[in-house]
Symmetry: C2
Subunit: 115 residues, 2 copies
């Protein structure tokens, strides 16, 4: 069992194509997670993730801030304690449209997106 504050994990620059986005890999395959990983994203004011799609799903919970998620069928707004579920192969982009930092958890399956 592991118990630790999220700040114990260093924030790294997110993948290329993201603007003003840092990620902390909180629970990983290397820690012994057999099925899925937990990441915490921090998006600067005005920042965004790339508008892209991939074969794995995202399960997202908004911890702080507000913004929207773009898809091919339009834009949906979210705020603190909102839930976002992105299906496999669905195009998506997270945008910080609030006044402060946007922070959210994003879980992904380990077989598809490992670290």
């Amino acid at each position: 069992m592991k118990v630790f504050p999220y700040t114990n994990v260093k924030a790294e620059d997110a993948d290329s194509g993201a603007v003003g986005v840092k990620v902390r890999w909180l629970i990983t395959k290397e820690m012994g997670a057999p099925n899925f990983a937990m990441r915490l994203f921090e998006v600067e004011k005005g920042g965004c993730s790339p508008f892209h799609a991939h074969s794995w799903e995202h399960e997202v919970f908004i911890l702080e801030g507000e913004g929207s998620v773009m898809s091919e069928s339009g834009q949906k707004k979210f705020k603190q304690w909102g839930v976002v579920f992105v299906l496999p192969n669905e195009k998506h982009q997270f945008r910080n449209e609030g006044k402060g930092v946007l922070k959210f958890l994003c879980m992904v399956p380990i077989e598809k997106k490992t670290k």
Copy 2:
């Protein structure tokens, strides 16, 4: 893509053995999640989950409140924005030791613990 506030999902009584615990199944197999489910637990002041073990892991993020998680090797404290990773087959119990409601996310693999 689904975007909704967590309060859109009704809180249900948790499994027997839990004291003062409600659960909201935020992302489920029925919604199309292929690999893992997202649940939000609310534990009343003084409440706790059962001290038990099972074959699937827990990936937990503390949203609000404070408490501790018991294991066979002792007790570890957590507070807001803490991370708890419980390995498969590891005995565990979540306890609310704060003054208010303890709220946390708990993700589980879908093959093992479906709804």
